[in-house]
Amino acid sequence: MLTLQSDVDRSLNRGLTHLDALEAESVFIMREVAAEFERPVLLFSGGKDSIVMLRLAEKAFRPAKFPFPVMHIDTGHNFPEVIDYRDRTVERLGERLIVASVQESIDKGRVSEEPGNPSRNRLQTTTLLDAILEHQFDAVFGGARRDEEKARAKERVFSLRDEFGQWEPKAQRPELWSLYNGKLRKGQHMRIFPISNWTEMDVWQYIERENIEVPSIYFAHQRDVFRRDGMWLSPSEFLPNGPDEEVQNMTVRYRTVGDMTCTGAVDSPAANVQDIILEVAAARITERGATRADDAFSETAMEDRKREGYF
């Protein structure tokens, strides 16, 4: 009997990797949310983390449809490749897409752009909160990871928000075992981070293992770029280069896809997922440090924005 048990153990252990464990945990979280909330929604940006989230949702709910819609907070400052990818992917999955537009929030006078700051990252907060209210979402899935940034390292998988979307780091609920407390009071909603325990490396390894398509801008391509604040930015109607900023054509790729005006390209020849994995293994700069202009401002930038209801 004992030998049999250890045979089972060995055979079951073979091939069970860290990715299997992470996947199983994330799928568990998604199913808990589907069961315990009335109106969840999954945020989808077209970036690699939200792409992994879509695959995990397939793992959790197929052959049925997702028990929630997918929502894109559209800054209007998009890479065309990413919008194209978004539409194709949602179509292929046969799921429902909601687009909440920052431009509309601006047109309606809900928010206004800061003079001199082309980035719309800050404005997304209002668009997101308005959409949550409009659709009465009580749980919002996000693809944030705890390894991204110091403030996130302490955030729960179920992150309670008040009606302003604010995160209160001091009043977090204890989160033990896999017992997530989904109870809400009026006006509150929950942000859910199923891939909290994944690192950038895990995400790429999973994309490779699952053979998932990602937007082409993740891979090396020729692009006109100019240098600003130590980053390679892509000139566009939203972000023209200044008179002293010389445009060069370079081989670059993106490590994150976001608002075009504050997402920097990296000088990289990585042409496929395997190349990226090698690059991540050797990388000495965090993806946020490398590519997000608005995080560089202060050491506590992220924590400040989270308190404000940003993801």
Binding site: D9, T17, E32, A35, K59, P63, P169, L176, W177, G289
Partner: protein, 442 residues
């Protein structure tokens, strides 16, 4: 590559942050821009060398106070393993954070300052680790450089701690003399301590065998969600979705569904990637049965001859996590696996002093960060195992009915109608007996 989750506990200034910083740094878990940021901060504060501890204190309030006050999760990987660290504060006022971090850990590191030796808090850290069922303990004797890398100092600490640890139900303790600041025995073996023959800390973390920690005997599958596509293609499809809590489920197995007690057979075990023959923890799968039985979230699939106890009364060790104390007759929501019911506290058996393990039977409540044994009654039956059998089917949380906050963490000792509970006379006298009971909960 597999996954090891470990927690770290140490008192303020024992060197916990420095140790974690070093593990991250030496395994390249730190990036240049993070390093540059902490170099700037170290300079601004006038430190002589880069304070690796700055890497791990996340929130602004904590940076201002200079201490870690909540569980923070850190990640690093070596070619052998991926690691998740639950970095928990060690002070008694953060016992609840330590308990939280310990709840999912495979291994705990207890830090001891070589100059100070075994302190009351070292006992507390080890007690919490065993109470939460962590199978492997590492006692890292830190700051060996400050005691001249003395074998004698280390051996005394080791002997004293081992003697005390006999009270606890811990099977695997590894002692390692280290200097987190200088890196001795952290990643590579120290040349300053030739008398130490054991592994470096990282080597131990990479190689400690955790395969047998999983319970592969008692098959338990709490149903989370029922997949019903309701399409013509999948007209009668009913997949019971969930994560295997323990044991092994195979296609063709005869199964019992609780609490109804109905039986059926496993027709298929499915994942997005197709059918699989057998499933064990921690896989998330869908189980399809031969028979059309009414099953919903909160039910549990198990084997006919190995079932959890169906009961609405239980004895448990409880760690309290809220300002408002737990009292006899207090009412809460109780979440256990995928079931949430109402619960009332029938009795507070005793409160345990986490430093001395002394039991106070006269206690009339459990305050924030206090641990004790309680008896609970629930509005509907739960499907319970003892915590030492399975963390998943033996662990639960209590939720406040008004604030909706998670207020307590419980570990089941026994389930079912009240057996004769005999309180022990003198608590210290009965310490050993006490501990075996506590250990049974752990």
């Amino acid at each position: 590559m597999d996954l090891l989750r470990f927690s770290t506990a140490g008192s303020v200034d024992d060197g916990k942050s420095t140790l974690i910083g070093r593990l991250l740094y030496d395994s390249k878990g730190i990036f240049e821009d993070q390093l540059a940021a902490i170099e700037r901060t170290s300079q601004r504060r006038g430190y002589q060398q880069v304070d690796l501890a700055l890497l791990t204190d996340g929130l602004r309030a904590e940076r201002e106070q200079g201490i870690t006050i909540d569980v923070a999760y850190r990640y690093f990987a070596t070619p052998r393993r991926k690691f998740i660290i639950a970095d928990t504060p060690g002070h008694v006022q953060y016992t609840r954070n330590m308990v939280t971090g310990a709840s999912t850990a495979d291994l705990a590191i207890v830090l001891i300052d070589a100059r100070k030796g075994v302190l009351e808090q070292s006992h507390r850290h080890a007690f919490i680790a065993t109470l939460l069922g962590i199978p492997h303990l590492v006692v890292a004797v830190n700051k060996m450089d400050l005691v001249g890398y003395s074998e004698e100092v280390y051996e005394n600490i080791r002997a004293e701690f081992s003697e005390w640890a006999q009270k606890l139900d811990v099977h695997d303790i590894q002692f390692i003399p280290i200097s987190a600041l200088h890196g001795d025995n952290v990643v590579t073996r120290s040349i300053s301590m030739p008398w130490y023959q054991g592994p470096s800390l990282l080597y131990h973390l990479e190689n400690v065998y955790i395969g047998s920690d999983r319970n592969l005997i008692d098959a338990r599958f709490p149903v989370q969600w029922v997949i019903r596509p309701q399409t013509t293609e999948h007209h009668d499809y009913r997949g019971y979705a969930g994560q295997i809590a323990s044991g092994v489920f195979r296609k063709g197995d005869e199964v019992t569904i609780l609490p109804s007690g109905k039986t059926s057979r496993i027709k298929r075990i499915e994942t997005l990637d197709g059918e699989i023959e057998a499933a064990s923890p921690p896989l998330s799968v869908s189980i399809l049965l031969e028979d059309d039985i009414d099953i919903s979230r909160g039910d549990m699939i198990c084997r006919p001859h190995n079932q959890p106890t169906v009961a609405n009364e239980l004895e448990a060790m409880m760690c309290w996590m809220a300002d408002a104390p737990l009292r006899k007759d207090g009412r809460y929501f109780l979440k256990h696996t995928t079931r949430t019911v109402r619960a009332v506290v029938d009795d507070l058996r005793y409160r345990i002093d986490v430093n001395t393990l002394h039991r106070d039977q006269a206690a009339d409540g459990l305050g924030l960060n206090e641990i004790g044994r309680v008896r609970l009654r629930t509005s509907a039956p739960l499907l319970l195992d003892s915590y030492d059998l399975s963390r998943t089917t033996g662990g639960f949380v209590l939720i406040d009915e008004t604030t909706q906050d998670t207020v307590g963490a419980g570990m089941v000792i026994s389930a079912g109608p009240e057996q004769q509970y005999v309180p022990l006379g003198d608590a210290m006298e009965g310490a050993r007996e006490d501990d075996s009971e506590v250990a049974a909960a752990a």
